[in-house]
Symmetry: C2
């Protein structure tokens, strides 16, 4: 039962026993190790993880303190709990014991967040568009318009500004989705849409099926509320539906999360036929779908296939979109489209969370759509981003020919670089940082992946993209030789 093909990284600053705690918690969360099961003996675990027995004892103490395992005087240690709330940890406010978050990823995420604001950094991790990609002049022309004629900024309706929702419906029509304003909720970015869904529609122990790797692994939203992420192997055409069918045993409360268009991090696009197949399968199984479609407008040669939502006649798709990737992250405008009762439910929780999104941002976004500036901007954006992609691909051809393989994205911001052999990702991350190159190691998107890097070409300048890839290739070669 306990296949362990991972060992803690002795060069990582996180103590070995906490790395092991993180590993075990992930196995339990993903249901690979189930509640009620007995763990191997301490001696056996020490062998499996290649650490001293004292390290195993420290890890077991930690897991017991968190109420996840229970030692039995008679026979061995049992898993007793698979839901713990990563967000709701007791905080050391009064000088008592601090209980930090033990997920190994989080330390890296914090280091990334700090490095993001270093102006000298070559940012090849971020999915934020470079400032040259944000249509600053268009936004300013809207501000000018609003400065002479706008309404007082009061609270909006629970679903958000009607004007904006109407404009979004017109836009959705152009990509094949028929929706009315009552089935649209305005959110503060697409991310908030995901949080509202996890708060309002799922419950602890819900299983979320998702592509492996997936952007969702880098968030803690779903896991923090006790949901289990169940990765489905993915291929060039996206999620493997046969594998999904095999996994989908416990139907109640399960949901599929997918990024079918310009997937984050792999860049793949699910073809139309497979989209139909997925909808058909989910209809049959009564399995709802969250479709994350935030990269749709960033295509290079041809528009991508229509969204799953456009093929959904039974209302099982919750569609999540937004303008943070292709227009302006700072406006914080996203949307969720779905059946009206679901949208009512989500808008109720949105009201309880922040009483609606910024009216000013909503007004600006609505004017951008209504004036045609949104469409015009996307047209320009595609050309600019294509040059960035080509620059990244050329640099990879020059520097990574011998050490890695990669996909050629037809849209979106990401190249999923696969090294020919595993390396220490943490070492690579730290060394790259010391040379002012910020990357997202693949294990942010797939637990313990040590062979992948997500290369983003959305943020760094063309020169920096070339230079960053060159520096990265040197560091990879250092480790591989």
């Amino acid at each position: 039962m306990y296949k362990i093909n991972w060992r803690p990284d002795k060069t990582h600053p996180m103590p070995l026993h906490l790395q092991i705690v993180g590993y075990i918690k992930e196995k339990i969360t993903s249901n690979e190790w189930s509640v009620g099961a007995k763990l191997p003996s301490q001696r056996a675990l020490a062998g499996l993880f290649a650490v001293n027995r004292s390290t195993i004892i420290a890890a077991m103490d930690e897991l017991a303190a968190e109420g996840i395992i229970e030692g039995n005087t008679g026979g061995g240690t049992k898993i007793i709990n698979n839901t713990w709330n990563l967000m709701n940890q007791t905080y050391n406010w009064n000088g008592y014991i601090s209980s930090g978050n033990h997920q190994p990823n989080q330390m890296i995420v914090q280091q990334i967040n700090e490095a993001e604001s270093d102006p000298g950094m070559i940012r090849m991790g971020s999915c934020e568009p470079a400032s040259e990609l944000i249509p600053q002049e268009k936004i300013q022309s809207i501000l000018k318009k609003l400065s002479v004629a706008s309404q007082p900024l009061g609270y909006e309706e629970p679903r958000g500004s009607l004007f904006l929702r109407e404009e979004i419906c017109k836009y959705l029509e152009t990509i094949g989705i028929t929706a009315n304003p009552s089935s649209v909720l305005i959110t503060s970015g697409a991310l908030q849409g995901l949080q509202l869904i996890s708060l309002g529609l799922l419950h602890p122990n819900s299983t979320v099926y998702l592509e492996k790797p997936s952007y969702l692994y880098s968030l803690r939203t779903f896991q923090s509320f006790g949901m289990q992420l169940s990765g489905i192997p993915s291929e060039e055409t996206g999620m493997n539906i046969k594998k999904l069918a095999e996994k989908n045993k416990n139907k109640k409360g399960s949901i599929v999360f997918t990024i079918p268009t310009f997937h984050n991090p792999t860049g793949t696009v699910m073809p139309l036929e497979k989209r139909k197949e997925l909808i058909h399968f989910c209809e049959k199984e009564g399995l709802p779908i969250i479709e994350d479609d935030v990269y749709r407008e960033i295509w290079f040669e041809d528009p991508p296939p229509p969204p799953l939502k456009s093929l959904d006649s039974s209302g099982l798709v919750l569609y999540v979109g937004g303008i943070s990737k292709n227009l302006s992250p700072g406006l914080r405008i996203g949307w969720v489209v779905g059946p009206e009762p679901i949208i009512t439910r989500l808008s109720d929780i949105k009201m309880q969370s922040d009483y609606g999104s910024s009216s000013l941002s909503q007004n600006v976004a609505a004017e951008l759509f209504a004036s045609g500036l949104y469409e015009a901007h996307n047209h320009n954006l595609r050309k600019k981003v294509k040059i960035r992609r080509d620059t990244a691909l050329a640099a990879l051809n020059e520097y990574f020919q011998k050490t890695a393989t990669w996909n050629i994205p037809t849209g979106g911001y990401f190249i999923w670089l696969k090294l020919n052999r595993p390396i220490s990702m943490y070492q690579l991350f730290v060394k790259a940082l010391s040379r002012k190159v910020l990357i997202h190691p693949g294990d942010l998107y797939e637990y313990r992946s040590n062979q992948h890097i997500r290369i983003s070409y959305s943020n760094a300048s063309l020169d920096d993209i070339r230079q960053g890839i060159r520096i990265l290739s040197e560091l990879v070669e250092e480790q591989l030789t």
Copy 2:
């Protein structure tokens, strides 16, 4: 043990058994009825609530289905659970059983939300400032400025725009709070600050001590995550500290929530001496405080005493403020001020929730502070709101002399009207609605209060305030005679 001095309202559209379910859940949440205790027999309960036994059976079935009680073949029914997640209810997405939210208040809140957008309504419930109170021209002048010179709208730092945080620190200095930008988190309104605190610092079963009545009772944020609200009797000077001391037995994970300045809904102001006493008590007990201070700038004669935060030398106060009440709700700008590690923790959760607040809103708010327009506006606002308060008080004197008593607020937006005798609040609410007057019945702010109405003078016009109070007095007299 089971003192029941409440009966379901037979005129209310909610079925009797669901009203009883709501009542019992509140007793359990507030810890008045504890886990492990046996409930009285069905026959006894039927007597206590003055309903048929079949109604009790239906209520018990519902509670058992929610996992809150457990029937025992041997002897009676026991309370087995006191945490249930009101937000995370299974949603009827696939056509199965719908499990609505059973808290009686919520139906009224939904009716209120619908009525809010009826343009013919006299809105005496809302705490939203009337559009004449929002400095539209000042905001437009800022938009004009930003339309010629602003930065591209990218993501902000996790804590929010540094420019805005610096401006907020300067403002805080003027009310006695010394803070640096690292100890300030920008939120999407003060409400989001409360949600982040409940997600990030408290845990299920935390007890929140609060004034009774309190605005917090009208939210579901804390209860939804399993926290217990424990009301502390309040007097003209705010929370009774002696009563707080008596209740504060289970110290671990408890917190005080207070609105010491222009309390919502009672309008009371905690005097300086009592503020010192509260801080002293909480320091001694190691009890942290959430101070909600969103009405501070709306004073009529003299500025209120300094915030608790200004008296807090040990960092136990989390200060929540914002500009939604006194400047513009639509910008959605609030802040939390506290010890740096706490703010780091909250900003981490904020990033996971919505990746930061609108940069555009933050820029506008920062410019409003920096330009001095914020201060100038508050100066005007006070005069305008005072006229509104005086109008409301004059109308109450004219129409409610014989049927009610009330406080004279020295700031803020609320009069807490106390009727001389209890009435059916739901009847009053519905009848007022049919005459186009929207009020907030007191039981939104205090469970089952049937003798109070919160009168807000922030939104309706002067004429409407007079007319609304007149109509209300007619409806109250109808019920009292």
